[in-house]
């Protein structure tokens, strides 16, 4: 409705007084100006995406069992300064004893191209689990089981005692980004069990010995 046409009368803007009929044509320019101004304003201020987040449950510090260091098929990640990440498998031993050798910390890299990349390591560990999930998925896709059963079974595989449990520990110098990266990597590989726990003193000492103060 930019122009309300009158009955064919050629009303020119300047010639109002001359015309017998008053022109019904309205100058829409200010309105259009305003409309575009508002449009520009709203386009520029619009925030389309809501922030994304990652859901995480922390353990209750009061009920962490003593045996946390004794998880059999466990992997402990130790995060420290300079984006370094180290790990050891199984139980922590600060010296050789009759049950086994002293724990040796191995280094991993956040970089995905590195030889000792975190992703490759996690992927290798979860191979067995992935095979199981994949088999379930095949069955599911061939319509051999309902949706709910499939989801439950996948959960069961992930929570399986035989699959790895990951413990994430940080010292004072690790950054938030490192922690998120590790959790992200575990999520990416669909790992079911991981938990944030506090560093224990012997672990800290070993970490310092490895990477320096």
């Amino acid at each position: 409705m930019a122009e309300i046409a009158d009955s064919g009368g050629g009303g020119h803007k300047g010639g109002k007084k001359r015309a017998k009929k008053q022109s019904t044509r309205i100058d829409m320019t200010p309105m259009v100006d305003l409309a575009f101004l508002l449009l520009t304003f709203f386009v520029l201020t619009a925030t389309f995406s809501k922030p994304k987040s990652m859901e995480l449950t922390f353990p209750d510090p009061n009920i962490i069992p003593e045996e946390q260091t004794k998880i059999k098929k466990g992997v402990t990640f130790l995060l420290t300064k300079d984006d370094k990440i180290l790990y050891y498998e199984g139980e922590f031993r600060d010296k050789d004893d009759d049950k086994g050798k002293m724990t040796v910390l191995q280094e991993l890299s956040f970089s995905r191209d590195a030889k000792n990349s975190l992703r490759a390591y996690v992927l290798k560990n979860s191979e067995e689990m992935h095979t199981k999930i994949l088999a379930l998925k095949k069955q599911f896709e061939a319509d051999q089981m309902p949706d709910t059963t499939y989801k439950r079974k996948v959960r069961e595989v992930k929570a399986d005692k035989e699959s790895f449990t990951y413990l994430i520990k940080t010292d004072d110098k690790a950054t938030y980004k490192n922690v998120i990266d590790v959790i992200d990597e575990l999520n990416y590989n669909a790992v079911g069990k991981y938990v944030m726990v506090d560093l224990i003193k012997p672990e800290f000492d070993m970490l310092i010995a490895k990477v320096g103060q």
Binding site: F42, A46, K52, E55, I133, T175, Y188
Partner: protein, 232 residues
Amino acid sequence: MSKKPSKGGAPALDMTPMVDLAFLLVTFFMLTASFRMAEPVTVDPPSSIGNVALPDNHILVTIDPNGRIYFGISNTTAKVNALKEMSAKYKVDFNEKQSAKFGGIPSFGVDIKDLPAYIDAKDEERKNFKGINKNGQSGVPMDTITPNNQLKDWIAIGGREAVRVYNEAKAEATASGQDFKAEKPRYAIKCDSKTKYIFVKNVVKTFTDLKIFQFNLITSLEGGGTVIEPTK
């Protein structure tokens, strides 16, 4: 349109479709716009593949790279109620106007003693706010040793109020037979990539002391990422 040849000048152009479109867009943007409130500090969260949208109803704790803590509640009513309780607990008075204005402040990082002055400050001055100690926004105090853990009180009281507001709204909706779609309040933590984890740990400790174990960690979205099913 008049077909009468004009004596020069611009030919009349039918602007109807353009104006229609312009107003349509204006209407669309007006209705979908949700204004992002000015945050007291800019933090740059790390990226992740987590793609859970942050719930609308949340209690947000922001931690900047220096470990300063900012606190905010998304629900205005709960926020104002929490302020009332905190005011009684810490014996800091707020007048009506300040309480009302507090509802519009997304999050803050000052000692409760500085809060009245912080509320009175103009929006654009808040970022450079200097408190009683002249050390700027020092963050919500979270001393675990001295009994001055204001963050803990804010979380406890804010959380309780948020849940109460939620329950009241729900009861009201059920009583009048309407659909109730709002979500339960959730606790969100937003940190900068460079924040040392130790600061986050202390905040998480405060939460776990209050028997709160579930969080939404705010991250920016990593390009095209979703949780993969194993490939091979």
